[in-house]
Amino acid sequence: MQRPATTPLSDTAQATGITVTNLTKTFNTDSGLVTAVDNVSLHVPEGSFFTIVGPSGCGKTTILRMLAGLETPTSGTINVSTGSDKPVTNSMVFQGDSLFPWMNVWDNAAYGLKMRNAAKATIREQVGHYLNKTGLTKFAKAYPHQLSGGMRQRVSIARAFANDPDVFYMDEPFSALDEQNKTILQEELLRTWEESRKTVVFITHSVDEAVILGDEVMIMTARPGRVKKVIEVPFERPRSVLELRRQPEYGEIVYDIWASLKDEVVGAAL
């Protein structure tokens, strides 16, 4: 792995946040080498909400998995720095059902803390806080199969936040939800995130979602995944999902991104 565990303190040129340089990932498949991610460079300033949109199969999930350390890059470097010399921690919110069916809601949400052998009082406080924040306190003893899809995704968000990491990686966490639930959970995510303002990299195929949540939106090309454009989203925080959608500027940004994505989506569909 090319990823340094910590940033050398002497390296003053290194900004805090996530710096990715010339990241490439190729997979060996039956039909030969496939380049999923091609020479991607990006910078996510610490404390910002960074969203990535792109057509399906553009390698955005692969980028996130490399950032989270679940895949090793073929080449390129990833540097995550918080300015302190402690190792940087991250929590991922996965696409799809990632809860352990054999643990109840409380134990699922406490998983990260338990794996770190956190103090009992810390676990009680952190998990209690985020279950409350996500409206799950009443369901602490329920098992995942007793919950709706929206509630299960709330648990996995609570699990990531309760772990109190330096960085969050979110892989289309709301893609399986219906429109109403999605809006509610986006709103909740914004409220929860605004408390701590930790760095977030959030992947989505929804332009709307990318703009609502992000400080910056990175648009990717169809396979092989490259950076097409990074657009700044100037709306102030705290944001309200509904109010945001009313603003004329919002429509313009969404339009811009769509215009830029259109060729890619059409290209990918052919």
């Binding site: 679940l70 929590s91 991922m92 352990f100 069916p101 054999w102 109840n104 794996m115 995942p144 772990n163």
Partner: protein, 285 residues
């Protein structure tokens, strides 16, 4: 008065729970017709068979040397229970079976989980298991007799070996069937190997581990009977063998019935254990 009413209510509802009030006549008839008929048939069929059996023996249609009347078997059953012989014999067999089961199942679960988690261990262990699994365990009993002698250990050993295989194969399959996303979660939250074992592999594989144990119990029962026939002076297998040599067919039937009851009881016990261990399993709730 204020105390009396809720108490009476509670008593009434408790009574209602244990003995539901008989439904009105028309409903009852349709119940018997629809669901009850099947239940009646399920209970009546074997009872009817027993009655037929009894009549056939009394009428001289069945040779009582091979098929003693059910009442004769029942009398023998009562006699053996009264003398305490049946309980002793059952305890001897169950003792061997339990020890063999534990000696076989515990390492099987550990090896199975490690196989499921580690590709390397799997590569080494899989061909070994594939090569030894098909050998009938009864075929190696003479070898076990040479190694362990005629005493308890050879019987315990054959049960342990018989239990090991279905449990190890099912456990490994259970662990290998774990959704990749759950491994990713473990990795993302920096779970150590031991933590992955404890929090992911064991609970995820529990339903299949228990399925393997149920198969193992059937295997164990068969092997303990054979082992006691071939190299025993006690236990249910010996009881069957001994009643053959003394031509006490009704005793043989008593042992057969008891073995069947034990098999069913152990399977039910494991089902109950599964229900307690996996409250999260959809089919248990």
């Amino acid at each position: 008065m204020s105390l009396k009413t809720p108490l009476a209510d509670a008593a009434r509802s408790a009574a209602a729970k244990t003995t539901p009030a008989p439904p009105p006549q028309p409903v009852r008839r349709s119940l018997v017709k629809r669901i009850g008929a099947e239940r009646f048939a399920a209970v009546l069929a074997p009872l009817g068979l027993l009655v037929l059996w009894e009549i056939a023996t009394k009428a001289g249609l069945l040779n009582v040397q091979f098929f003693p009347a059910p009442t004769t078997i029942a009398k023998e059953f009562a006699r053996l229970i009264g003398s305490g012989q049946l309980l002793d014999t059952t305890m001897v067999s169950m003792g061997r079976l339990s020890i063999g089961f534990i000696i076989g199942a515990v390492p099987a679960v550990i090896v199975g989980i490690i196989m499921g988690l580690s590709r390397w261990v799997r590569t080494i262990a899989e061909p070994l298991i594939a090569a030894t699994y098909p050998i009938p365990k009864t075929a190696i009993f003479p070898l076990l007799l040479i190694i362990f002698g005629l005493g308890e250990s050879s019987k315990v050993a054959v049960v342990a070996i018989g239990v090991f295989f279905p449990v190890v194969v099912n456990t490994a399959a259970g662990v290998m069937g774990i959704n990749q996303i759950h491994h990713d979660v473990g990795k993302n939250f920096k779970a150590s190997r031991l933590q992955v074992f404890r929090t992911i592999a064991v609970p995820a594989a529990t339903p299949l581990i228990i399925a393997g144990m149920k198969l193992g119990v059937g295997m164990a029962l068969m092997l303990i009977v054979v082992a006691e026939m071939l190299g025993g002076t006690s236990g249910l297998g010996f009881m069957i063998w001994n009643s053959w040599s003394t031509f006490r067919v009704e005793t043989m039937y008593v042992a057969l019935i008891l073995i069947s009851v034990l098999g069913v009881a152990m399977t039910l016990l494991l089902t109950e254990v599964e229900r307690l261990l996996t409250p999260w399993n959809r089919k248990n709730s």
